[in-house]
Point group: C2
Chain length 231, copies 2
């Protein structure tokens, strides 16, 4: 990249980091677990998230979701079927969400009435990796239909994640998917990252995923910071 672009990019990312830090303080004050879901397009983030919202609500918990796409509000429409509050962020062609877009879509939501905020990022294995959204948990989804080597080819996204979901496991056989190879590629770029095998179709992996979310949320809830928002 030309030096002027590199410099400007640094400036943009620095500004984003500052905004994300502000958001993180705000989320912590509201005792809200914020999850940033990142992946390539079409890995099944929306299907998995719709089920997650439904299941959390069935347990008496209070999730909400923001969903980003370059165009359309299709995903927000799907997620709203869960009954959870959902907002679409249209990036108008841009390739990622940033902290500013997230902040602009929180207005008029009382965060203290929520337990979880899921942010479904734009489907993009490159650009989403650089933008902190103030999340507590970054979850990278890898679909069995994409091929085992994606973590090696797109390391920034996977090595910035806290957890990986291997999605569409019901299609593994039809795709000749080699799960051991995928695990190896993932561990090479992000040693020790937890990996959950999941299928939105069969429900595989939903139980450990919900338990993990609830455990993380309890940690956020019991953190000895002062609850300032909405009180």
């Amino acid at each position: 990249m030309p030096p002027r672009i590199v410099e400007l990019r640094r400036h943009v990312l620095k500004k984003n980091d500052e905004l994300a830090a502000e958001l993180r303080r705000r989320f912590a004050a509201a005792r809200l677990l914020v999850v940033n879901l990142v992946s390539g397009p079409g890995t099944g983030k929306t299907s998995w998230l719709e089920k997650t919202l439904t299941e959390l609500r069935a347990r008496g918990l209070r999730p909400a979701a923001l969903v980003g796409d370059p165009e359309t509000d299709f995903d927000a429409q799907r997620l709203q079927r869960s009954g959870a509050p959902v907002r679409q962020i249209s990036t108008r062609g841009l390739c990622h969400l940033d902290a500013d877009m997230v902040a602009n879509h929180l207005d008029a939501w009382d965060l203290s009435t929520l337990d979880f905020l899921f942010i479904e990022n734009v489907g993009n294995l490159v650009c989403t990796a650089s933008y902190d959204l103030g999340e507590s948990l970054r979850v990278a989804c890898l679909s069995v239909t994409e091929g085992e080597d994606k973590p090696a080819k797109y390391p920034s996204l996977f090595n910035s994640a806290d957890l990986a979901l291997l999605t569409k496991i019901d299609l593994a056989q039809a795709c000749d998917f080699n799960a051991a190879a995928a695990r190896q590629f993932l561990n090479d770029v992000r040693p020790g990252i937890p990996l959950l095998e999941t299928s939105a179709k069969t429900g595989l992996g939903m139980e450990p995923w919900l338990n993990l979310l609830v455990t993380h949320q309890a940690q956020v809830k019991n953190h000895p910071s002062t609850k300032t928002e909405g009180n």
Copy 2:
């Protein structure tokens, strides 16, 4: 986007367009059909391209390939099994190929000894759309595993394409894929675009694809421009 970023982005794209125009003149002079393959990650571009290179060579034609990824040379290794000349472009984390990267990887290739140059772009449904690489034919791949609505969500990529390949059609049933819906979404953003149903696994679509390539190549070959490169 902040105005300074918008302005700089325009400048970068203008510069790319100038370089791409130069490349296009160079390719035309060498009577070379250049195909830019764009899609999200994991749609099967490499598998399809490996078969394409093999089949074209079996017909006595002379294809070559450049392949872009943020990291690794896995795809170049796979494509080289076809026997065609292949070069990997590592973008070092960048989300797209540009005309400059293509130009830098043509050195020492005598273009007049080739009939086809395939450029497999980085797997990215957003950023690759804006960068002209001097190609004659832009081919957008949409996999049945990604969902039917991708053209609506990522319109820039599909409305800048000359042809669309619907890939992994062998998995259509397993994915509950609705081909009619996908065609409708595609036609909404790019009315009249030809769409080929393909499967690298079964070979479906390979024959019409090769015929289409050969027809386009003949047009390039017979174009009344002066052949200047390599003569």
